[in-house]
Assembly symmetry: C2
Amino acid sequence: MEPPPGWAEVDGALERTFRLADFAAALAFVNRVGELAEAENHHPDVAIHWNRVTLRWWTHVEHAITERDRKLAALTNDLSESAGSGV
Amino acid sequence: MEPPPGWAEVDGALERTFRLADFAAALAFVNRVGELAEAENHHPDVAIHWNRVTLRWWTHVEHAITERDRKLAALTNDLSESAGSGV
C-alpha cells in the first residue's frame, strides 16, 4: 500500500520531515503530534532540528509498517496543515 | 575543557541521552529544554525515542562547541534532575 502523501518508507518506517516557522512552532507541532500519539498509544520517533521536525512511524512489535502507522501518518498530515508545510 | 557530567563530545556537539519514565515524561522534559533554548536563543538538536531524549548542543555559526554549549548542557542537567536520570 502507498504511504500517505508526503511520506516515504525509509529504513522500515514511514518518514516525513515538516518545516515550521521556527523552533517554537516546531516544538508546538511536536506537542500536537505527542497528544495524538498518547491518545493512540502509538509513538513515532521524533527529531527536531530548529524549525524542522522529522517523524518516523513504525510498529516496534512487528518490526514493520502497519495500517496503524499509515493512519497516524495521515492524521499527522492533518495536524501539520495548521502548523506548517511538509518538505 | 571537559564537557559537563554525563555529556560527551560526539561528531562536534555535546551529546547526552536522558531516559525518562515514558513518552509523556520525555516530551515534558523536551518542553522544559525548549523553554531554556528559547530563553537563551540557542537551540539543541533533539531526538525522542519513546522515553529517551538525545540532546546535542553545538554552535552552528562557529561549527564548534563553545562555552555557551557547555553552559546549556550543564543547565540541562539541572532540568533533568527533576525529570529523570541520564543514561
